[in-house]
């Protein structure tokens, strides 16, 4: 597992952890049942506070990506396809928002955007 934490990004560290672990699960790099490092070990490896990793894990657990078994550790939850799809959809939406904002700045119309998307989707 590879996590990259940036102190300069302004994004809270726990948020960086949750989004990156979600990413790893969605991309299939982490599989259901895979053990994650303990909160305290992860804090050591990332050189951050335990409270931060704890918060990240709690959030992941709440969102159904992780299961914590007391005394055993945290594991990647059984893939919930609906959940995965929903999460992906959320990400697509947010990135499209960025595209729309950029398009508006450059004076591109909806048609122009659709055209670009179609070309890209078909892989030229």
């Amino acid at each position: 597992m590879n996590l990259i934490i940036s102190n300069a990004s302004g994004q809270p560290i726990y948020d960086q952890i949750t989004s990156q672990i979600k990413g790893l699960i969605l991309s299939g790099e982490l599989h259901a049942g895979d053990a994650l490092p303990s909160m305290r070990a992860l804090a050591k490896d990332l050189r951050i506070s335990v409270i931060t990793t704890k918060r990240a894990y709690e959030e992941l657990e709440r969102d159904g990506f992780l299961v914590s078994i007391p005394g055993k550790g945290s594991f990647v939850a059984q893939a919930n396809l609906e959940l995965v799809r929903e999460e992906n959809l959320k990400q697509i939406e947010s990135r499209m928002q960025e595209c729309i904002a950029l398009a508006a700045q450059s004076g591109l119309s909806l048609n122009d955007l659709c055209e670009i998307l179609t070309i890209l989707y078909k892989g030229e």
């Binding site: 050189r47 506070s49 335990v50 409270i51 931060t52």
Partner: protein
């Protein structure tokens, strides 16, 4: 259970008063006590360790006002062993002082820190003395580690080694660390909570992450600053060409760019405000 509880602790000196100090360090957590020189950090720790008596308030360690010292490891800003002793002598003395002394652990730390056993402490460098103190503090059944300015003046390589040791120590949920420092350094990375003491009073005591996300630095001009809610501004630094302010993110308009803040900056700004 809480490792440390301070409730309304006060102590009066002729030139300085430590006033109404309250904070809690839960088991499994690391608390950083920050503030400039003479702010009252060391006095707070002395009271906690029983080297001085408070005039008022309550101090509890492991839930009692008379904790078992077998489980408290202390590292002071100076090595407190007579410097005519060697590391081996220190081991001998502490082995007969602590019932829970772990000779093998001590020997392993000496090796890990590359501390020569037979050399007199007075021939050690500052970094080596500090490492010896840490080795001693961790070679009995310590569950609470108290460090007073222990890491100031150490080079980054040594600090990194020590940070590693602290992380190893904190792998156990039943352990806790309280460390004071007047310089915020890479060591504060491990801190879960920060208590900031200024002129004998606590300015804030809260989760480090929350603190860092609550505040930010706004770089702007006088007009913009004056337009802000005065409750949002926690300190201002003016130069001929710029104005910088420590602000609460939630209380300034979203249109303004607020940069992330460091603990150092929070300390400097807050000290200026008072």
């Amino acid at each position: 259970m809480n490792a440390i509880e301070l409730e309304h602790v006060s102590k009066h000196f002729s030139t300085f008063t430590l006033d109404d100090i309250s904070f809690t360090v839960p088991m499994g957590a690391v608390m950083g006590l920050i503030g400039e020189n003479g702010a009252g950090k060391s006095t707070t720790l002395r009271l906690l360790l029983g080297l001085a008596r408070p005039d008022g308030g309550e101090i509890r360690v492991f839930g009692t006002d008379n904790p078992d010292k077998e489980h408290i490891g202390v590292v002071f800003d100076e090595c407190c062993f007579p410097e005519t002793l060697s590391a081996r002598d220190v081991g001998r003395v502490l082995a007969s002082a602590y019932k829970t002394w772990l000779p093998d652990t001590y020997a392993a730390y000496l090796r890990r820190f590359q501390l020569p056993e037979k050399k007199k402490i007075k021939d050690y460098s500052r970094g080596m003395k500090m490492k010896l103190s840490i080795a001693a503090a961790l070679s009995h059944d310590s569950r609470l580690l108290v460090l007073d300015e222990a890491t100031s003046g150490l080079d980054p390589v040594v600090r990194d080694e020590i940070l590693d040791i602290f992380y190893d120590f904190m792998q156990d949920e039943q352990h806790a660390i309280l460390m004071s420092s007047h310089i915020t350094s890479d060591l504060e990375r491990i801190c879960d909570y920060i208590t900031f003491i200024h002129q004998g009073r606590i300015r804030f005591s809260e989760e480090k992450d929350r603190l860092l996300s609550r505040f930010g630095v706004l770089r702007c001009d006088e007009t913009t600053l004056r337009a802000l809610d005065s409750a949002a501004v926690h300190g201002v630094r003016r130069t001929n060409v710029s104005v910088e302010a420590l602000v609460e993110r939630e209380r300034v308009p979203a249109s303004l760019t607020v940069d992330p803040v460091t603990l150092d900056e929070i300390m400097v700004f807050t000290a200026k405000e008072a």
